[in-house]
Amino acid sequence: MSQPLLEVRELSRRFGGLLAVDRVSFAVQPGEIFGLIGPNGAGKTTLFNLISGVTPPSSGAVLWRGEPITGQPPHRLNRLGLARTFQNLRLFEGLSVLENVLVALQRRPRSSAAGGLLNSAGHRRAERQRLQAAWQLLEELGLTALAERQAGTLAYGDRRRLEMARALATGPSLLLLDEPAAGLNPAEKDQLCQLIGGLRQRHQLTVIIIEHHVPLLMRLCDRMAVLDFGVRIALGTPEEVRRDPQVIEAYLGTGGHAS
């Protein structure tokens, strides 16, 4: 097997008396779509927070292309090529849709503050490139018509796609999607599935996706891990996971989410 893009080793996070994530290990290969499932409170979002640097882990390690990156701040991890979306949607609500994407295009390309103040030719060129890239992303996610709208006024599905556009604008190799299908209707879920597959192709992405909707994950993912009470209870292809007796008991067996 080639070197994994991201590896978590024995990662744990304790909140007071609660072990939200308990010695979780897995590795994600470049180009993979990797699913994370588990009942509510299983520690999926906490795991994303640990990987993206939002919360420091209590113990364990995160490796990026084999190098340890544990405990680095989010902005540095993002510059390495790790971008995320949020379960509860955290757009810059006062800014326009276009500006939301432009914010994330800060460094693509870089330009100096002095150049910006003096409106130098280099700065103008960089701004043009940023705007072009932003419009392209909006086009790709079907947000062009909404570009001038204030992000806070968007409909739910549009917000979800804007979050993805914003994350993509940072130029990631790894995209962490936290419940991107939540609140979408079946047709929208289908579209999302195709969109994620397409984005992987065009942006050479590796994707880790948290999702409750199991059929969607089964269809989309190359491999997946199952969390229950902070512990990774299964890891493998969707087919392997589906047959895992522990998974059937802990999660699929409850029937609630499997439908």
């Binding site: 909140f15 979002t45 939002v54 949020f86 379960q87 509860n88 955290r90």
Partner: protein, 313 residues
């Protein structure tokens, strides 16, 4: 040597008690609304002037009604009590004009900093219109303190009675308030609103009434502080409360926003630290509170006894 130390400590504890009063006033409002009431310093001034008038003081030559005063003259303790109640009522008024309209509109909490300060500016300048900018001294001697001697000798140290009273009264007020918050129905209701206004509402606790109660108590505490300092030191002018208001703010953060024990501990700590500044450096004393605050904030960003909150992502 021991005597001076005793005196210094008593002075420190006495002003520390007053700082704690002001800080508790902020704490009450902060716990229920999550905002700072910047009119607190002005209410401190109001309490000082009310006490002065109730004790029979007359308005000076620069005031609106020179020579005018309330008939009679109440004993010190009664005047103090009434002045505290009066400041509480003014506190209610501040809530009505500076906080309630913003709350009804769900406005940004930042705006309350401005409106409450506006209310403070109005109050202080109304005081100045009425009383003039001049300083006022309270009558001294046995009359002033209801027959108590002006000074006591304890363990060989001569101690001004008013300093001792200052300490005792602020300690009693602080203790009564903490007990009330802890034990009584009203106090528990207030704390319930502070914890979670929506749930409290579901439990049938009327949070608007609790907000008003918090503002009344908060104003009364500030007014009590103002009256005590006025009797003990004098009233140097309508703006004198602002300085105490700022010190109270430093104490509030030192102890941790919203923490009652923190406000008390912070107040005492600040008062004692100031009292221990040698007299050669007395000019720097006013900066000490803020220097301590600065260092504490950098070491413990939520104050000494503040609660830690985890942001939910």
């Amino acid at each position: 040597m021991i005597e001076t130390l005793l005196q210094t400590l008593l002075n420190g504890a006495a002003s520390g008690g007053v700082y704690a009063l002001v800080a508790l006033g902020y704490t009450l409002v902060f716990s229920v609304l999550g905002v700072i009431n910047f009119a607190q310093g002005a209410l401190f001034s109001v309490g000082g002037y009310l006490t002065f008038l109730l004790m029979g003081g007359r308005i000076g030559v620069n005031g609106a009604l020179p020579g005018w005063g309330l008939p009679g003259g109440l004993p010190f303790w009664l005047a103090l009590l009434l002045a505290a109640a009066g400041s509480g009522l003014v506190g209610l008024l501040v809530e009505r004009v500076a906080f309630a309209p913003l709350r009804r509109r769900n406005a940004e909490p930042l705006l309350a900093l401005i409106t409450s300060l506006g209310a403070g500016v109005v109050l202080v300048n109304l005081l100045q219109l009425l009383m003039g900018a001049e300083g006022y001294a309270f009558p001294h001697g046995s009359d002033a303190l209801g027959g108590l001697p002006d000074a006591l000798v304890i363990a060989g140290a001569r101690i001004r009675t008013i300093q001792l009273l200052l300490l005792l009264i602020s300690a009693a007020a602080v203790l009564a308030l903490s007990l009330w918050l802890e034990r009584s129905r009203g106090g528990r209701a207030l704390r319930a609103v502070a914890e979670d206004a929506t749930t409290a509402q579901l439990l049938g606790i009327h949070s608007e009434a609790m907000v008003r109660l918090a503002f009344f108590l908060s104003g009364a505490l500030a007014g009590l502080g103002g009256g005590l300092i006025g009797v003990s030191v004098s009233l140097p002018g309508p703006y004198f409360g602002i300085g105490y208001g700022l010190k109270g703010l430093a104490v509030l953060v030192l102890g941790g926003l919203g923490s009652v024990p923190g406000a008390i501990a912070g107040g005492l700590l600040m008062g004692l630290a100031e009292a221990l500044v040698p007299s050669e450096a007395s000019g720097w004393r006013d900066a000490l509170a803020f220097a301590i605050l600065f260092v504490v904030l950098l070491l413990r960003p939520r104050g000494l006894l503040g609660r830690r909150t985890v942001e939910k992502v």
